[in-house]
């Protein structure tokens, strides 16, 4: 990348590359829609769809936003942002595990006999079965609050 005659750090445009990326983005958009229409299992469709979306986003960031060849200060700032974003995703791991435990009908029936499952999510979360059972016995009225 070269500087322009304004002596600032604007990037030299590459119109041919912009048009190629535009074509790629259009093709990838069609691919994204096609993935959702083909009969794939939902996890596979979600994985493929998000992968294609990530490729599209990477193209826009690298070429249109000139991140390819950008100053390292900008790169560092963005890596810090990505790290902070990743921290936010950590609770999702627990959420995934808890969702499996709580919303599975068998699990709900075992932990909350006579209850309605999701209304007791807070109680069931991260407690031993003995404690949950004791809580269920001590709060019989609360069991009718579910939906």
């Amino acid at each position: 990348m070269a500087k322009n005659n304004n002596n600032h750090d604007e990037h030299r445009p590459n119109v041919g590359l912009y048009l190629k990326v535009f074509g790629a983005l259009m093709v990838l958009t069609v691919v994204t829609v096609a993935i959702s229409k083909v009969h794939l299992s939902r996890p596979l469709a979600i994985g493929l769809g998000l992968t294609v979306a990530s490729v599209k986003a990477a193209l826009v960031c690298a070429i249109f936003m000139h991140l390819w060849g950008e100053n390292k200060v900008i790169h560092k700032a963005l890596w810090i942002t990505v790290a902070c974003g990743a921290i936010m995703l950590l609770p999702l791991i627990d959420c995934l595990l808890v969702a499996q435990r709580i919303t599975a009908p068998v699990s709900v029936a075992e932990q909350h006999p006579g209850g309605h499952g999701e209304a007791h999510a807070a109680e069931a979360h991260a407690t031993e079965p003995v404690k949950v059972e004791a809580a269920a016995k001590s709060k019989p009225a609360a069991k009718k609050g579910g939906h």
Binding site: M1, K3, N4, N6, N7, H8, D9, E10, H11, R12, P13, V15, Y18, L19, V21, F22, L25, M26, T29, T32, V33, I35, S36, K37, R42, A45, I46, G49, L50, V52, A53, K56, A57, V60, C61, F64, M65, H66, G69, E70, N71, K72, V73, I74, A77, L78, I80, T81, C84, G85, M88, L89, P91, L92, C95, L96, A99, T103, E118
Partner: protein
């Protein structure tokens, strides 16, 4: 690329725009995280094809990607000091932006006519929140890009050595709005 006139190697304006975008990334990341939590916690989740207008959303995707190209072409014309070319491509960007909002308006209008709103379900609550916030960002981009188009008609602004940096900053913001939609489209409408 390093700018010897600055301490960090980039102009303060560009660094400021990128830091602003970093905060925007965190804002939308929070919403996407909420979306994932709500979706995983739901016993059922509708398929976008069944409850939303996917063809209109696909059209909007094409419109927004096209506008990303037109604004980068406007930047290329500004770089070459081609005022007419800049104005043409920036005007095209504005038209496409307005087109996006019109299409989105049709989509919202149809949903409201059916009595569908954020109150309808968790899915619609997160759908209206995310697309609504994105729409507000589109409005902000239109204001900035419209301002630059007007500034280009004033020689004092057009000849200002900072003008090209302003165009690049506006372009960065607009591409970010495009990237957000690139993830919103499959997350809400397709998958």
């Amino acid at each position: 690329m390093n700018n010897p006139d600055t301490h960090s190697g980039v102009t303060n304006a560009k660094l400021g725009v990128w830091l602003f975008l970093a905060s925007e990334i965190m804002l939308f990341a929070t919403l996407f995280t909420s979306y994932i939590v709500l979706r995983m916690g739901s016993t059922s989740w509708p398929w976008g094809w069944d409850v939303l207008n996917v063809p209109l959303a696909t059209l909007n995707t094409v419109i927004l990607i096209s506008s990303s190209v037109t604004i980068v072409m406007a930047y290329a014309r500004a770089y070459d000091k081609d005022k007419g070319g800049f104005q043409k491509w920036m005007a095209a960007t504005l038209l496409l932006s307005l087109g996006f909002l019109v299409v989105k308006g049709f989509e919202y209008g149809h949903e409201f006519a059916l009595g569908i709103g954020p109150h309808t379900s968790v899915f619609y609550a997160i759908y209206f929140t995310m697309t609504g916030l994105h729409g507000i960002h589109i409005l902000g981009g239109i204001a900035v890009n419209g301002g630059l188009l007007w500034m280009s008609t004033v020689d004092e602004h057009w000849n200002n050595h900072l003008f090209l940096g302003r165009v690049e900053g506006a372009g960065l913001y607009w591409h970010f709005v495009d990237v957000v939609w690139i993830f919103l489209f499959p997350a809400l409408y397709l998958l």
